[in-house]
């Protein structure tokens, strides 16, 4: 069987990640979000970066990386080993970070109602600036770690994922799970 047989179902965006397009019957569902879950250290962040890196290197498609955990500085540094020069891509407006990593040493207190509109505006701004077709959001758990696991946060994340569809970007959303073959926290998103 070849992946051509599957084409009628959902249009796929070839990731150009070596090997991945073959096993995924052509890549990731185009214009949609795909949840990537795995245990700690299973290279979710690397895959999320590679998705953008191969888009830039092989298809000249810009990408936006929304980071909820590691700082952009750490990601730039960590990916040097793969010869991905993220800083240069940022200068060329091929790669943009939306930095939502925690503020070290800054206490955050919650008083009253809020929403994540600011995050959505920042994401839209980055997509507009780069003309991005690809996006990685890494990882969902980082949002809950910063704001707590409330229905509000879940609903807001659902709203953001819906908005990504309208921006016509193909995205990967990573989520950590505590053990192999266990439910991951993000599955709760589906219930919202």
């Amino acid at each position: 069987m070849t992946w051509h047989n599957q084409r009628s179902a959902v249009a796929k965006l070839p990731t150009e990640v070596p090997g991945f397009d073959l096993i995924s019957y052509g890549g990731l569902p185009e214009g949609r979000s795909t949840l990537l879950s795995g245990t700690s250290g299973s290279a979710k962040t690397v895959f999320a970066c590679q998705f953008l890196a191969e888009g830039i290197r092989r298809r000249d498609e810009a990408g936006v990386f929304v980071t909820f955990e590691e700082s952009p500085q750490a990601i730039r540094k960590n990916m040097e080993g793969f010869n991905w020069d993220i800083s240069r891509w940022e200068q060329d407006s091929k790669w943009a970070f939306v930095d939502v990593s925690p503020h070290p040493g800054q206490e955050t207190i919650i008083s009253g109602s809020y929403d994540l509109s600011a995050l959505l505006v920042r994401i839209e701004n980055a997509v507009k600036k780069t003309g991005a077709r690809r996006m990685s959001l890494d990882s969902l758990g980082g949002v809950f770690a910063q704001l707590g696991e409330s229905n509000l946060v879940r609903n807001e994340l659902f709203r953001i994922v819906s908005a990504l569809k309208e921006m016509r970007v193909t995205s990967i959303i990573t989520a950590e799970r505590t053990e192999e073959y266990a439910r991951c926290r993000a599955t709760a998103l589906r219930n919202s």
């Binding site: 939306v98 930095d99 939502v100 990593s101 503020h103 040493g105 800054q106 206490e107 955050t108 207190i109 919650i110 008083s111 009253g112 109602s113 809020y114 929403d115 994540l116 509109s117 600011a118 995050l119 505006v121 920042r122 839209e124 701004n125 980055a126 949002v143 910063q146 704001l147």
Partner: protein
Amino acid sequence: MSKYLLKLYVTGQTPRSYRAIENLRRLCEEELRGQYEMHVIDVLERPQLAEDEKILATPTVVKELPAPIRRIIGDLSDAEKVLLGLDLQPYAPISDDSSGKEESVDLA
């Protein structure tokens, strides 16, 4: 001279934004009259500022001065949390005695 520098980030002119502005202004007038500077920043108009400040949720107040920098997320309807978060202490008792804090506000 203002001692406190507060930046309030909101997204658009929504009821929630106005509520946060109103709550913060009232609190500042009651606790810090004449010694604060408050800036309201609309993320819709200044997305790059929100990016630089890493604003995730709105409304968010960032207390830039005095140190330490603190953030409060929400429409600031819980005054006690705001006082706590912003380290706002009543003007009168400038001593290491923090007992003045308890009786500081009655905003309900």
